[in-house]
Amino acid sequence: MADKMDIDAVNGQKEEEKVGPAPELPPERIIFNNFDLIRQAVDAFDSRFTLRALRSISTLRKSDKFVEAIVIGVRTAFPKPNMGARKVLEEMLPESATAMQNGVAATEKEKKDTGDDQQVPELWAYLGILVQVYLYDTQQYQEGADFSENFVEKIRSWNRRTLDPIGAKAYFYYSLFHENLDPKPPSKQSPVIEIRPKLLAALRSAVLRKDNDTQAAVTVLLLRNYISTADITQADLLVAQTQFPTSATNNQVCRYLYYLGRIRAIQLAYTQAHDHLESASRKSPTTGPAVGFYQQAMKLLIVVELLMGDIPERSVFRQPSLESALYPYLKLVQAVRVGDLQAFLRCVETNDAQFRKDGTYTLILRLRQNVIKTGVRMLSLSYSRISLRDICTRLHISSEESAEYITAKAIRDGVIPDSSLDHTNGHLITSSGRDAYSTTEPSEAFHARIEALLGMRDECVMAMRYPMNKHRQELSEAAKARERERELAKEIIEGEGDDGEGDEGGFEGM
């Protein structure tokens, strides 16, 4: 298993993985451990065990013996060959794997106890997820789509809370399979449109059953669905009509904020978009295999910042994980910062394909007026009086009249405050005498920052988890500890009293 350990090291798994199954275990072992974890989860009604089991999926899918391991797992959980559950799962797996394992399964059977029958739904669902992962990795999208449809229906019909984390994952793969079927989005004929009613129904059931995991996951999937076919109004309505559960996992929150930011950016609400995207990029993992999300969020964040008129800092581009991905955006920022329209257009032309792939192309086209505005602002900062003709040449504007209108608009929009135009001589006059510290601006900025940090602290406190009933244990332990201390103190005093009686008597006499 040495190569498997290498794979793990290279991928840089997150720290939680060390708590789970150790990397040297063969995949079947991992699956059996997960069975135990899942049974524990059902007994204790605690979802953390299920989450641990689900986390090991990424280790499992990289193993060569993934399929065989699944089959062994299926055989072990459902020893009788004609159980309907087992048949459904095995249908999806290739013949070679199922044929080989006939002998092995028989020996494992004795080790498992008969408690299997009771927890069958969770185990079956877990194995179903593994089958989905396998089908996705081997790109059998059509079979995967069909299997997933029945799979999620079954899960939904069971209505068991312990199934929630598994159900959320199942919906994720269900949606993913359909996205890969032809015709792909953004075409309007894409199959993703057909799964919308199902996802909406799933969202309804999840809310009714107070199933937070599924609710969060399905909301995010719906948003992704709507955005992929450019149905922004529908996505907006979904956001307005539903509430995102506050106790969702961090990953789902990240994704939700990202999609929300995307919607707001398209609707020209840049400040809101900026807030959402900033939270998304802060909460997302910055290293490891999931760094792609961080890159994507940062790209969108940079474009939104440019649209708002701010220039993103250089340090953002220097982060090691972002350097190569953000290179075209760096060029873009440089062009906008200087106010050079030609460089901007050139940059857009050369990186056309990359921007389209990132879905930021249309937003970047809107940057045109920002380039001009920034150019005007730069000029107004450097000159106290500049003629309109010079503005024309600097900003490559076609005519002096246009320049006049553009500067007038810029003044009205507050880009260059405290300026005026001298029409007769054709000059722009700027006066930069504002002392920011004498206004309330610094205190407002401080206030905003303090509020944000206090909010973060409150969120952290609320997110701390304690196991249930532990506090009662603590109280009783504390009481016992105090008892012990008292006894100890008594013994000490009695002991000293025996020895030093003479002295004490002397003291008391005085």
């Binding site: 015709p183 953004p186 075409s187 309007k188 004929q189 076919t229 450019a230 149905d231 922004i232 109004t233 398209i266 609707q267 020209l268 609400a269 389209r356 192309y361 249309t362 809107r366 045109r368 007026q369 001009i372 504007i397 076609s398 005519s399 009249e401 246009s402 006049e404 209108y405 553009i406 500067t407 007038a408 608009k409 810029a410 003044i411 009205r412 300026s419 005026s420 135009l421 029409h423 007769t424 004498s438 206004t439 309330t440 601006e441 205190s443 206030h447 303090i450 206090l454 602290r457």
Partner: protein, 272 residues
Amino acid sequence: MAENELKQIISQLDSLKANNVNEAPQLLSRAKLALLHLKALVPSEDTQPQHLALAASVLELGALNSIKLKDTDAFTRYYQQLQPFYSLSDNSQASGRQSNQSKVTGLYLLLLLSVGDYAGFHTVLEGLEQSSGKEHLEKDEFIQYPVRLEQALMEGSYDKVWGETKGERVPSEEYAVFSEVLINTIRSEIASCSERAYPSLPISNAKNLLFLDSEGAVIQFAQSRGWVAKDGRIYFPQQEEEMLAAEKNVMSSSGVVIENTLGYARKLETIV
């Protein structure tokens, strides 16, 4: 046979174009009734392809007619009704109708611009980019016209807007209907820009800036905006800026400062 009746009505509508536009609504209602008979008004799985084509052309003619009659609500309604047809026909081979589709979409974009709904404008444009792809859009004059206008409006180069609406660059007559609305919009935009940008302006220059025809019109316009016209110059009111400056004054906002500081103190107590 409902089909034949439908085709008749469509040819009638086509020939109507130049003359009596007011007769169109009656013909359109008859056409819509015929479509309902064929179950084609709302596309579903059992409507046949040629019926879809007929329905789409009827609705498009309806849309174009409502523009000529300056009925924006009706136009918006026809456009919404056309949406399912357009999303269905993305991959199919309908050729002759394509020109009308982009025309109607372009008109809708222009409508959004003239009421100032930029968010809606960009949302629709985003959807178009995704479905038809860039090369197709760039050659499409009907769509490029509103896109160019929006760019010029956002930049602030109103003379470009003026040029586009005036001359022969307008793609078709229906677009010309919007020109007047647009000119009024940019006139008020220029007016509000000028208020902030110029301390004062001679009237002749104001005439050129505002694209007005005579000095009398300038004075009228000035009065309607509340400007003072004296000695051949227009003076813009200056008070709003002083009011804004006063708001930033520290003394007047002491209430807010006190509130904030008390809040900090309370939070600190809970933390420490």
